[in-house]
Symmetry: C2
Subunit: 467 residues, 2 copies
């Protein structure tokens, strides 16, 4: 018996228009909502029926429960008062791109399973090189190329796998050693563990007084490892650390990697997109020497999660590490070798059409708009930096190179926790902490799509009030 | 200077309504479009400007290019005439759930970063146990629990990592051996490679004449491995193989795994959701004995990609394998231990609010609707099976246990390729091949949201015409 679905195409139109309006209303109202959800653990589940419904429920009652049950448990990442972690931009254009991707519902695992999904993605990876002034070694016309992954964590993992592949044959797994600074993102250690190495096989390299990796210390560690028959195979450097936007010296690190034959991966998850503005191109320093590179338009370039770019200078070891071809995935285009099959660039087999939303964003804003967007946040951050720098109760603890301000209350760790909690519990802003040089410090990451100077003024007023 | 974005909230309303209408029109028109995109490699890229735009472009011209440039390169996975691979359902409700998730733009990496994202996900994992009659060992109230991942490939990987973690300390990496049948999904080998084992460390277990794993052969392999000081640590069994919906005998395999201390993971990516109907609960046989289990609502349960359920009987080794906590992710709720942080159940750190769309689907259709949906496809498959079984030019090569019909032209491999290509090139249907018992065979996977008996009639007419 054919199934009669509850929502036909006309009902989808009505429900879809209403959902668009719901989102538009939400965005309009967003700045008045408490940023950090105040609910207690278990309270959302408590409001939900224990068992799933036997009968279909009316769409109106489902949508009503979004307001009733879900919304109290939302921490508003799109709020202009969100200064925690790094931003997670969901611009209107990118949301429409995600919607279209879902409506088309195509699988981009192979070129053949939707050629446009693969080719638009390749094209966007090349466009991003132009937009950001990145080296040609990542261009799809050469031995390298780019792809869009879900996250920089996955980018770190596939970089480790490609490096491991390049080292395989000569070296054994338990001889391999990887390196990252103590300020590298936790994804470095997670990738190392997933790839089958022990945590001890990742060396934490000392940093200088601006929290950047010390290349001389890296060289000394590699030398000692080699003497003891361990094999340096991978370095994860960071262009813009999570705690303080510190920039590891890529070129000097590349010199060391070259001497020891190690793969150099650069994580610029947050900071990389700043290169859209020529005055911030310092974030690209040394990238013409690296093996792989990742940055996230889903953080600071107006594209909703997930959209993480990953480029590689030589795709061969990457594809060798990740390609497994059963008969049921074979097809003439792949066998012919003239196409890219992006399943061989990532962990999962299936993949969404993520390039659509990035295409929408780049075209709707233009290079000029993207530049103005990034500049506006850097300007706001500099303003906050100046005010905190001259405030009696606070001190700046790291240079504000882009849009992250890292600072602390001079009263000590407990005072910083108190200020953070007071502001977050007020609901009027949300910021998070980190530890630098053994001390608890606060971070204000300015970069939400709707953050304007008045929101940063309000954050400063809160900091002043709770000082 | 504040940035003036090109699309304000009112323009988003207009563009959003238009995008909803575009999708509604697309779905209405879908059955008349050629299913498999006929474009040549490079033609989509050729139609795109080489360089990104400097100035913002008008939204209307961007959307016009979707029709003009993107659509010719789309293979229509949502077409009612799509019978390739397995289906990738994008029901209207799930698309609205994806839209809402993008509009909220929250990160569910930690409970604290949006409690509703975590708690609705946990609740949906428990609801699915009820809907499908799955064992209580996977319920969140015990030592196990579930999560929503992007794909069953990632599920296979995290299962391997949890198994490796459980084996660590006692055994060395190069001693470990994993097992799967020769008909297991390619994700098994991919997971083994990613986890740092050599391809030789995955043994392909012989199958019986219905392509199900032979548990006696598994036992013999494990015994031999143990004698040679290799350690059986992981078995991936399949409930519904890709090539022919074969079901490995889970209970007998669990006996072997118990004797040798190996982790048993079951991949039911496609078939698992059939258990929503009591008469198909055979797909659950033996699951009360397994360590982890995965199935994909994004294949056959009306929920757009990505939405893959993963359950584990004991979450401890999984979390131990995947948890890395830097200071900047610490928070009171996580430190208190009363909440789930789903970042510790997956490869990436960030995660979308995927539970919303599954919640929408389950409530809008109800258990009754989901049952009727699955039954309708099984009925259509049985009808196609009967007609092919009595056709002179075709023979059925495997039992049609659910909605996949595996068959072949009696004229040999080349004839099967000819029939496949003729049908696919006609644009009127799309099916793919596999190899069973050394012979090329065809697969008709019936399960698209809009497939009705008349579309299967048309597929049969095409098969008859090209016989």
């Amino acid at each position: 018996m054919p199934y009669e679905p509850p929502m036909d195409v006309d009902e989808f139109r009505r429900a879809g228009h209403a959902m668009i309006d719901w989102i538009a209303d939400y965005w309009s109202d967003l700045e008045h909502r408490p940023v950090l959800s105040p609910v207690e653990p278990g309270s959302i589940r408590h409001a939900l029926p224990t068992a799933p419904p036997e009968q279909p429920e009316a769409w109106a009652s489902i949508v009503a429960d979004v307001d009733e049950i879900v919304m109290p448990g939302i921490t508003h990442w799109q709020s202009p008062n969100f200064f925690a972690y790094f931003p997670a931009n969901a611009s209107p254009e990118s949301v429409l791109g995600e919607l279209l991707s879902a409506g088309l519902g195509v699988q981009g695992m192979l070129w053949a399973t939707s050629p446009a999904c693969t080719e638009l993605e390749t094209h966007m990876c090349d466009w991003m090189l132009d937009l950001l002034g990145l080296p040609d070694r990542f261009r799809s016309s050469g031995p390298g190329g780019g792809t869009i992954l879900d996250s920089a964590s996955s980018g770190a993992l596939v970089a480790v796998l490609a490096a491991r592949e390049r080292a395989a044959g000569q070296w054994r797994m338990n001889e391999l050693v990887a390196y990252a600074s103590e300020h590298a993102h936790s994804s470095a250690l997670k990738a190392i563990k997933i790839a089958g190495l022990l945590p001890e096989q990742l060396r934490l390299v000392p940093t200088d007084d601006e929290h950047a990796l010390d290349p001389d210390a890296l060289r000394a560690l590699m030398r000692d490892d080699l003497i003891e028959d361990r094999r340096p195979f991978f370095v994860q450097a960071t262009a813009g650390t999570t705690s303080s936007t510190a920039f590891d010296p890529i070129e000097a690190i590349a010199d060391v990697c070259k001497d020891y034959g190690a793969w150099l991966h650069v994580d610029a998850a947050f900071a990389g997109v700043a290169a859209v503005a020529p005055e911030f191109r310092f974030v690209n320093d040394g990238l013409h020497r690296v093996d792989s590179y990742t940055l996230n338009p889903h953080k600071w370039l107006l594209t909703n999660f997930d959209c993480s770019m990953f480029w590689v200078a030589d795709r061969q070891p990457l594809n060798a590490a990740l390609s497994v071809t059963p008969e049921y995935l074979r097809n003439a285009a792949s066998d012919g070798g003239a196409v890219i099959d992006y399943r061989d660039w990532q962990i999962p087999l299936g993949r969404r059409f993520r390039a659509l939303k990035l295409w929408f964003v780049i075209r709707s804003h233009g290079a000029e708009g993207l530049r103005a967007f990034v500049r506006s946040h850097v300007e706001m951050a500099q303003g906050l930096h100046r005010r905190l720098d001259t405030h009696d109760a606070y001190e700046i603890v790291a240079p504000t190179r882009l849009s992250l301000v890292t600072f602390r209350h001079v009263g000590g760790d407990a005072e910083n926790e108190r200020v953070r909690d007071a502001i977050n519990e007020s609901g009027r802003a949300y910021l998070t902490h980190t530890v630098l040089d053994g001390r608890t410090v606060l971070r204000a990451a300015i970069g939400a799509v709707r953050t304007e100077p008045r929101h940063v003024d309000e954050l400063f007023a809160l900091l002043d009030q709770h000082a």
